[in-house]
Symmetry: D3
Subunit: 284 residues, 6 copies
Amino acid sequence: MDLLNLDPLLRQALAEDLGRGDITTDAILGPTGSSTVEEIRFQATLIAKENLVLAGWPIFIRVFQLLGEVEAQLRCEEGAPICSGDTVGRLEGKASLLLKGERVALNFLQRMCGVATLTRSYVERVAHTQAKVLDTRKTTPLWRALEKYAVRMGGGINHRVGLDDGILIKENHIAVAGGVREAIEACQSSMNHLQRVEVEVRNHQEIRQALSAGADIILLDNMTAEQVQEAVEMIGGRCLIEVSGGVNEKNIVQYAEAGADYISLGVLTHSSPSSDLSLILEPR
Amino acid sequence: MDLLNLDPLLRQALAEDLGRGDITTDAILGPTGSSTVEEIRFQATLIAKENLVLAGWPIFIRVFQLLGEVEAQLRCEEGAPICSGDTVGRLEGKASLLLKGERVALNFLQRMCGVATLTRSYVERVAHTQAKVLDTRKTTPLWRALEKYAVRMGGGINHRVGLDDGILIKENHIAVAGGVREAIEACQSSMNHLQRVEVEVRNHQEIRQALSAGADIILLDNMTAEQVQEAVEMIGGRCLIEVSGGVNEKNIVQYAEAGADYISLGVLTHSSPSSDLSLILEPR
Amino acid sequence: MDLLNLDPLLRQALAEDLGRGDITTDAILGPTGSSTVEEIRFQATLIAKENLVLAGWPIFIRVFQLLGEVEAQLRCEEGAPICSGDTVGRLEGKASLLLKGERVALNFLQRMCGVATLTRSYVERVAHTQAKVLDTRKTTPLWRALEKYAVRMGGGINHRVGLDDGILIKENHIAVAGGVREAIEACQSSMNHLQRVEVEVRNHQEIRQALSAGADIILLDNMTAEQVQEAVEMIGGRCLIEVSGGVNEKNIVQYAEAGADYISLGVLTHSSPSSDLSLILEPR
Amino acid sequence: MDLLNLDPLLRQALAEDLGRGDITTDAILGPTGSSTVEEIRFQATLIAKENLVLAGWPIFIRVFQLLGEVEAQLRCEEGAPICSGDTVGRLEGKASLLLKGERVALNFLQRMCGVATLTRSYVERVAHTQAKVLDTRKTTPLWRALEKYAVRMGGGINHRVGLDDGILIKENHIAVAGGVREAIEACQSSMNHLQRVEVEVRNHQEIRQALSAGADIILLDNMTAEQVQEAVEMIGGRCLIEVSGGVNEKNIVQYAEAGADYISLGVLTHSSPSSDLSLILEPR
Amino acid sequence: MDLLNLDPLLRQALAEDLGRGDITTDAILGPTGSSTVEEIRFQATLIAKENLVLAGWPIFIRVFQLLGEVEAQLRCEEGAPICSGDTVGRLEGKASLLLKGERVALNFLQRMCGVATLTRSYVERVAHTQAKVLDTRKTTPLWRALEKYAVRMGGGINHRVGLDDGILIKENHIAVAGGVREAIEACQSSMNHLQRVEVEVRNHQEIRQALSAGADIILLDNMTAEQVQEAVEMIGGRCLIEVSGGVNEKNIVQYAEAGADYISLGVLTHSSPSSDLSLILEPR
Amino acid sequence: MDLLNLDPLLRQALAEDLGRGDITTDAILGPTGSSTVEEIRFQATLIAKENLVLAGWPIFIRVFQLLGEVEAQLRCEEGAPICSGDTVGRLEGKASLLLKGERVALNFLQRMCGVATLTRSYVERVAHTQAKVLDTRKTTPLWRALEKYAVRMGGGINHRVGLDDGILIKENHIAVAGGVREAIEACQSSMNHLQRVEVEVRNHQEIRQALSAGADIILLDNMTAEQVQEAVEMIGGRCLIEVSGGVNEKNIVQYAEAGADYISLGVLTHSSPSSDLSLILEPR
């Protein structure tokens, strides 16, 4: 999460909300650049309204900084659990700046905390096993870097960030290639020494094909925990095993205990509810 | 929702996923531009995996069209309810194109349907009253136009699209302006004949100030349904009434029956779960 | 007029003039980055060559600041009347920077002062009446924010900033909708509680239709002052009245005295002559 | 005037006016993408409301084309004189497209015709002499290519398009360089074989210095026609002569007859009034 | 090499050369948009002036297509060896378009063929061994995708495309991490199941540390062929071996025969001379 | 070479290499924004590994500055000859920043020094004659400003920077125009007083035509030194003479001594090998 990369995104989000300008704030405080009332400095306190895992404070602050100078003080740490009612941090700056940036900054932060909080709850459920929690590419378009970062803050591990930084052969690729072996071999012949081949399989036959063709990782898709256990035994450590599809808060432990090395969950990024936080302004 | 405006956003989302290129698909089908295997045409069928309200088909299709030529056929209508198992539509095009666009297109569609589906459920609950369901500015950054569109497809009405297309005086503005009357008058003196003034109030005294200063709309924030009913009587039709804060699926009817003209809900856009849809590829 | 928004525009204007670089200045002072002659600091004095209303000093300065560091001192105020020969302000910085930015900065300022000066002359003519002077969307493409700002500095009020921040039904909309009533009702059914409906009418019949359909504002287009007076009486305060078309410096008083609430003028932005200002450089 | 270059500018101008969308047209015709009413095709006729020289028809049409398909038919030629009341051309396309593009397209065209019309009036006044009419860099920021094109359509010749495509030493350069000779020699030592040196002079002494240093063109700034005549005699054909400053419609003939090779005028681009044209829509 | 991605780059390159327009061609053929002479269609024949490997025809063509319509016909294949004097392909289109695009299109093609041609010469030298030829990140800035593509056309394999798609620990990383083991373990703890760890080593001790920490690939930097042979024996197949530094056309065979799995060469992209091709225009 | 213009290019080059982030450095030093290890400051020393002419230090430094704060100290001067083993300069900053920017910064610098070094070798060969060394438009796409700058640092003179800042009639233009005279006259009729006409000729007849039509410069293409000498005599000082085609390190002196005013060489920019420089990091 490099600010060099994210500034254009944040500016775009500010432009989306500000449009041609904040007509309410400008009516009250005068247009940007006038010299009298606007100089009033306010303090803004960020408070958690429910338990959550913090993710996105640097983004939250950066949104305001793109509008002008603010002083910021974080009272806890990225990735830390926060209790309802706790003060997360404080900002100080011109009133107009705080009013104009508030909604966008909160919209970023609330979604990121939501992702981190949900991730943490899954990670904790399987903490006693060898299984690691992965995200997927089922992210909100334009939010991949932010949501993947929030998953890390929640204790998860990032799967591929895009189609270009890892080979994952899915069912549709197999259909197009004409078989598991054909697909794996096509990838092997064009890849370099830093890459590995992961392949999604649906049954024992495909597992056998994947193993014989030399897959590095096998992805068991939409199997029950029992089926996963059988597959784990069949594979016998010859490659890594990822599980996805049909996993939820109730059954994730069973999948983990069945021997999966990795469990990937789309829900972390496509359906996590926003965390509730609020920003309270007071004059200095 | 004008494609003139949205193409850059969709391209950005494709770039986010494709990065430097889809190395799995390219390994199997050859790099873009080669002439043999890639020409295989596939058909893709879009199927609902749960009940939902459709929103976003034009976006779904457009994502693929930015990658090349596809033929698309919609089997229902934007805004229509779809049952689990129904076929929403079909696409046909080169296999490589379908494989490369699938995830991004689904990521857009699933979120938009999620917003429309949740909106519809609220709209239906208050259909017997005069109350209208509004969204808020608590949208996913960079997604405002898409989420506001999905709200409309779900039967909701859009509140302000940004800070520039409507005056809404909130508590923090009042604090900065020095009072309800001061804030309203500042807005009245700079606005033109096409604009109106809405003001957020917390109690009876502020309602009285707002009415006497000539507010066009009063927003009752975080009040119980009983408090709303009292406020409605006190206002006596002198201006429009919007309610927000603390409204959920269970109590929305009470708020509507208490006499609110508009009920606005952040949950529609910040916490709606993604709808489940899947795309199945088959050779032609 | 938010610098967050305008910097890209100003950079574009600088790029338009500088192209691949100022070959004359570079020949004389050496290329950017060399260390000897270029460090010469100059002072630049901005002088009005005719009477004008100042608008655009922050833009004027910002152009230079995008090229490097300058110190600036304004000797009067935005929106103030300036007499021919008066010193408007002073700049100090590297000679190369002042030479490279001079033309672009003046081109911005001279046009903005021209708009403000012409607006002020209209505003003063109707200052004794209730009528307010409005601009239109007949602005120089890419200059809307700047020209609308200059109109405000001249004492005018801004009409819609674009097609998205207000409803104005014009003749062509009526033709397409099939009538005044049909057009108004279409807008009423899709608008939210912060919006109003303005409709352009050509005769008494259309005024009656507009009133009965519930228009909030009626725009009387291309009528004589006498016709406006009749219309004002007919409307009898049931809605606001805007007048446009055929208004000039000579007859604006008649229109205002006929009872128009608002008078809108395209000439303010599409045909205002540039104000004459010059920048004189001297070594420090 | 290459459409490859100008499309981004035109899109920017459309975005400036459309913002988040044309709410009036969308209310009446339905949002973009709906299939019923919007398909109504209209014809639009472009009519001159005063005498003018046509410049900008390709831009006018291109604005609409960026919104969708239109058929266009020009009834005269770029650069031709048009009489008040004449039909310039016709468009045909969807009603929504014509309504949304109208204002932006006219704003471009009216300004460009204004520049061409004013240029033509100057060019005709000196047509019996050897003098050629030049524009300057006093153009509307972001409009240089468009205004320079309009000057050509009016019969003028373009001076430098920017600071990078020609050497012109002005008074401020001389001050910085330490003298006319020093400035000229600095340019001569860094220029290539395709470039020439023009230098602005204020008096006989500077003319002598310029000639002796080998200037290719001398620019006589703010001189009377008599002073120009003296200078012409003094120079005696040893280099080309440009005149600028203080030239207006009344005295331009005197300057031309005094022997200037080129006369440059800022007024062509910074103060030309907009030409009056209107677009009338009718159903097909 | 996806045209979706490359169009902006190609447009930028055209803008770099065209600037404000091709004044020579426009003088001769009239400005873009005029209707007479420009319509002349020409044929252009692309001829190799020396032996080369073809890479970049799709880019060559695309440059012209961004200027307008052209018909193109390739007479051989990407990656094929071409002899001096052979016709590579033909274009047909408007004369102005061919004149304006020629230089930029050739500049792209000549460099890409140069890279492919040099790569092929290295690949052929080691074709009898197990060693594969890799490129590096020592590419021309802004050209990475194009040069990496050209390397593939020459028969080479692409190493990492950027810092984000593979882990490679270099000397400086080791210095910062505090040792080979520390650096490898840091990477192992944050990577996912699709990634591998490559580490650059300078001596036997570092090889031992890398092996014991579980490196997947060892990069032997700046060693002689003899030293490589020793290292190969020491590693004994426990991981893959890449060699870089000090390899040239004369000694590459020795390195390959010493047992390197991969040999990487910066020279392929940073110092390959341009291939000589020319484009001959004739009227149709 | 104005940093205002080049920053976007440098950012693009950084984005090309960094992609979604430097996973190796981030694994070792922690993600951007964390506060512990990353703060380690390192010193980086830039050393020449062969004799070269320095060009591009400001670019080299700027690349790092776009990533964060660095202190830089140049030990010599742009354009100066550097000996193998010499220290060119030093940088100091955070370790992560130095690791992330190193490759891109070196890729820029090595190419620019390569161009300057080759240019210097040609310039020195003809230093005893009147001939000047020119570059061409055969530059690496997207690198024109950088390569032209490097040519100047090597002592060469820049020919046209693009198609818009000079008139050069080439063979293909003559073919299209219908003759040397026709082409020259077309250019003369549309050019302004700051421009000149250069024309490429192949034989004595074309030289005669060019002279009689009033060409300002004649470009002798692909002639032997003997043919150039004949042409020089024939032209007899009536216009400037440029030579190009077939010139190399061995015969350039003959061309210069034959009387050419300018000799232009594509090899300077399209086939100069990269200079070898390395950056060594040490903790402070």
